[in-house]
Structure formats: C-alpha cells, structure tokens
Amino acid sequence: MRDNLGAGRDDFYSALMQAHEGLSEAQSHQLNVRLVLLMANEIGDLKRLRAVIELAGRCER
C-alpha cells in the first residue's frame, strides 16, 4: 500500500494518541470503532475498503 501520510505523519500519530488520552480501555475501544467507521466513510471506495480489510486480517499471526 502506498504511503499517503507524508510529512504530516507525526502530527497524525500524536493527534491519535491525544484522542485516547484519559480514556478507559473500553472507551478507547469504542473510539477506535468510531474511527474505523468514519475513516471507511472517508475512503468510500468499496474495492479499497476490501483491500485494507484483507491486509489487516492477513497481518494477524
């Protein structure tokens, strides 16, 4: 998969960690689910969504 994050990658990662700050584990779990759904909607394209679902699953070892 291409690297699309570019120079903003550290800003993104730190914003993500900040979003989780102070949350319980259950709340973090919920936040992650909302994030996945929102990001899926941002991507939109079903073909690409299937590809990332497949890739994420394949990494399970």
């Binding site: 690297d3 550290d10 990662y13 989780h20 973090s28 990494c59």
Partner: protein
C-alpha cells in the same frame, strides 16, 4: 584505562585580580560546545570575548555523539568541520528490530551533492577538544578562562558586572553583554529565577559506552545503527546501539521509571545486559550513566543584556540528537547579531529576532524529541497497542515503517515568516537555510555563502552593487567572483535566473527575480533588524 585521556587546561591568573580590566564586550559563561562555538564565531568577526568555565577539562563522558549536517556546515565556517568529519564515523545503514526480528533496514547515506553527510558520530569530548584548540588560534580575541566560576551578575547602566571565583580569589568582570551558555542546570537562569517549563519523562535511560575491537555489527566493517523495540534481551523496553570512532560503541537502554539509578549503573547490572547485545565478543566498559530526560525551555531567551544560548535556554531528550545540534544553531544565529550590535549597525529588532527565531527552533526541536520519547515509552495500554500494531504492519507497509519514531533526526528549522526575512516565492524559500552544491573547482557552496551577507546570482541574472554586500555568481559571468556548478544541483535546488540574499548564518533573507540596488539594500536593512520584531509580528 579510559579511552580518552583528559588533559586539564591551564588556569591563568585573570588580570582583574591585579587591577587589570578586560576590554572584551562579550562575556560567555560556559565552555561547552555552544559557548565555544559562539566564541570562535565572534572571533572570526573580530569581536573580543571572555569565556568563563568553572571546570578545566572537556565534557566528562561522551554525552552527545550525533552531529548533524547543518552543525557540520557551521563548524566548516568556523574552520573545524573537516577535522570533525575526518575523525567521525559516518553512518550508513540503520536497522530496526521488533523482538528478535528485523522489521526493516534503511540507507542512511546522504543525498548526493553535499559536502557533509546527514550525520556523523563523534564523542562530545572530541568536539569540545577541537573547538578549544580552534579558540587557541585567536589569542588576542578569545580569552578562555578555566577554573573561573561565575557566582553572580548584575546589570549596570552600560552593561553587565559578572562576579567570578577563581583559585586565587574572587573578581568582578565588566562586559556589555553576558551570554549564558552554562548548560541544562544554568546557574545564571536559576539566579534570575526564570521558569523552565516543559515535560519530564518517567522512564530512565542507561547510557553506556563500550570499547570493542570486533564490531558488534558483524564483519562488514560498515557503521550501522540498530534500534530494538522489545528486544529478547531487554523485554518490554527499547535499546539502541551505534558506533563512535576509535572502537567505541554507544548503547542506550530504556529502564523503568522506578528503578534505582545507582544500582542500574553498577557493572553487575550493566555487563550482563551488554553481553546480551554483543554476544561473546570481548568488550570493555568505558563510561556508564543513568539519565531521566525532560523537554523544557525558557519563555524568553533574551533578558535585557543577558542572553541564553544552548542547554541553558532549552533541553530536549536526546532521541533525534537535537540538544547539542540545536545549541550550535543558537550560537550561529546569535554571533553575527551580537557583532552587529557591538559594531553599531544593528536595527532595533535584531536581538529580539534571536529570541523569536531560536524560540521557534527550540520549540520545533522539543516537539520532535517529545514525540519520539512518547513513542518509545507508551504511557497507556492503548498507546502500547498502537505501537505494537504499527511495528507489525511495518514488516510489509512503508507508511508504517515511517510512522515508527525512534528519533526524527535534527534538521535546521525554517525562519520563514519571521521579521528579518522579506517574504517571497522561490525553490528555496526565504527563511530556509543554504542548500549545499558541488562547484566545478572542487569547492562547495557552503564554503562561499556563510559568514557575511552575500548576494548570490544563479544563472542569467545581473546583480546590482550594494554597499557592504558581497556578490557571487553561480553559472554566470559578472564583475564579481563566480563559480560554475556541476550536475543539475544548482537548477533543482535554487532554480535559475534568481538572486538569493543570504544572512551571515546561511539563511535566505530574500529572493529576487529582478533585483534593484534599492530593493536588495532594503532587504539587507530588514535582515539587520530595521523592522521592529514586535511591530512585524
């Protein structure tokens, strides 16, 4: 026997003890890398300084080892860059491990067309030794005073009075400006009661230097940098191994926040850990220390006639090597401005621009260092989970490899938008630092553009004559010195048919497509602080 022989510097009885008086306008507290850099910079401008240090040897322990390209370019201007490059180890390969497995490796070799590589490794004690030796080339301009401890200071109507203690008793030194390069625990800062705020990290790090004849990286003889998350020999923590000159290797090991630092630094604790990293190859422990890191900075670096520079103004965790490198850039930014003040050619905004520009640079360094430290020391189970899944994806996904943060290496900040720069559009934008180029006669652009104001024309453009401004042509003929470039570096880095006005510290002050003498002169006055910072902001 330690790898480095500390030769004490001579203490010389200061003239003030016998009724004499220093004529130097600048007093520098601290002969660390930053104070020494500033002293040489001022000397090259013909400005006298006194450097006061409470000690009489170079840095004890190697401390800083990674020196960035920009720092080496500054050292080049000061006449010590090539010596550092020759003595240092140039990195080539970086490897990142997660557990026992290599996640990926990457090429650390620099982009072509630069005199200096992205980074070298060289022990801080050697860097300081070379700087002290360079200071000795200016006996009439640099008054280096070892075993001179600054214990007080007060502003006077004409400058600063500095109270100093020596083995022969106390004296008072008069100067126009006092520059505090007295390190992370800056006594000057404490004396003034200035807040030093930021983030402290819980985890402690064990830093060890070992001497080995066989390379722990294998037999290739190549200098590598190995970084582990959760290594088999140090479960749940991180570890770093890299090479210094003279068969010395640096090991950084993350420890828990609650361990006893003194116990961790004992050979009984340290040796088994190192053996786990280097295997059964013989080694000798040269230096070991345990640190707890923090990121903090002063709100302002300029307080009347007292100026803070280097670690006294800002500290960072060492991941990304921004402490010493950032401090040398402070000195590079400050030297020409102090000289302009002493020479009476500075505008009202010049000293304040040091405060603004280096405040910005150090904030950027702190942001990057804090993020790397956060990545290395997850604060919660969810942070640890994100990190371990990033590492898992990194085996196959380039984007995830780049998210892994074991330190973003020190790069100079851009000063775009600050008051000294004239806004404009160009391949290398105003505020950026000089980008090096190889020239046809075997020299490099960085050897020609740093030190004073210079107007450089690239390609087909005529440079006007402006008082007190040097001119230089690249790939053009004019009534001023010129060079041909090689390859297409000049065209891609600077474009063609453009004139760049460089500040003495190598930052671009302005760019012109059709420069008139008036425009260039105005941009130069602006870069000398003609525009008040407070008004421009």
């Amino acid at each position: 026997m330690p790898a480095y022989q500390y030769e004490p510097f001579a203490y010389i009885r200061p003239p003030e003890l016998d009724g004499g008086r220093s004529q130097a306008p600048i007093a520098i507290v601290g002969a660390g890398p930053v104070g020494l850099t500033l002293a040489i910079d001022l000397a090259l401008r013909g400005i006298k300084c006194v450097v006061l240090d409470d000690n009489n040897v170079v840095s004890v322990g190697s401390r800083a080892i990674c020196w960035a390209k920009r720092t080496l370019e500054i050292f080049d201007r000061l006449g010590v860059g090539e010596r550092m490059l020759d003595a240092g180890v140039t990195w080539t390969v970086g490897r990142l491990f997660h557990g026992a497995e290599e996640v990926y490796s990457f090429d650390l070799l620099p982009e072509h067309g630069h005199k200096y590589p992205a980074f070298i490794n060289l022990q801080q004690y050697l860097v300081e030794q070379y700087l002290v030796e360079r200071c000795h080339d200016f006996p009439d301009l640099i008054d280096l005073r070892f075993l001179n401890k600054v214990v007080g200071h007060a502003e006077t109507s004409t400058g600063v009075a500095v109270d100093v203690e020596t083995p022969d008793g106390p004296y008072r030194l008069q100067a126009v400006y006092l520059v505090a390069c007295d390190g992370a625990n800056s006594p000057t800062r404490r004396r003034m009661g200035l807040d030093f705020v930021g983030q402290s990290f819980e985890e402690q790090f064990l830093i060890a230097d070992i001497e080995m004849t066989q390379s722990p990286f294998g037999n290739s003889g190549v200098a590598e940098r190995w970084f582990w998350f959760d290594p088999p020999f140090h479960a749940g923590k991180s570890a770093l191994l890299h090479q210094q000159p003279n068969g010395i290797y640096r090991i950084d090991l993350q420890l828990s926040g609650n361990v006893d630092a003194r116990l961790e630094a004992t050979p009984e604790q340290v040796l088994p850990r190192i053996r786990a990293i280097v295997g059964d190859k013989p080694f000798r422990l040269d230096w070991v220390s345990v640190y707890r890191f923090r990121c903090a900075k002063l709100d302002r670096f300029v307080h009347g006639r007292v100026i803070f520079c280097g670690d006294s103004a800002h500290v960072v965790s060492p991941f990304g090597a921004r402490g010493g490198n950032g401090g040398v850039q402070d000195a590079d930014n400050l030297g020409w401005k102090l000289a302009a003040l002493i020479q009476g050619i500075a505008g009202p905004g010049l000293l304040e621009s040091y405060n603004a520009e280096r405040g910005h640079g150090s904030a950027e360094n702190i942001l990057n260092s804090a993020r790397a430290t956060n990545f290395m020391t997850p604060k919660s189970p969810i942070e640890a989970l994100f990190r371990s899944e990033t590492l898992r994806l990194a085996h196959s996904q380039p984007f995830a490899q780049k998210l892994i943060n074991s330190g973003r290496l020190s790069l100079p900040c851009s000063l775009e938008g600050h008051s000294l720069q004239t806004p404009g559009e160009a391949p290398l934008r105003p505020g950026s630092v000089v980008l090096d180029l190889p020239l046809a006669d075997g020299s490099w652009l960085v050897e020609h553009v740093q030190g004073d104001f210079v107007l450089v024309g690239f390609g087909d453009i005529a440079l006007p004559e402006v008082a007190d401004l040097r001119r230089l042509g690249i790939d053009q003929a004019g009534p001023y010195p010129g060079f041909a470039s090689t390859g297409d570096y000049a065209a891609t880095r600077y474009g063609t048919g453009l004139a760049y006005l460089f500040r003495p510290d190598g930052h671009v002050a302005a760019v012109f497509a059709q420069p008139s003498a008036d425009q260039v002169s105005a941009a130069m006055q602006r870069a000398l602080g003609a525009v008040d910072c407070a008004v421009a902001a």
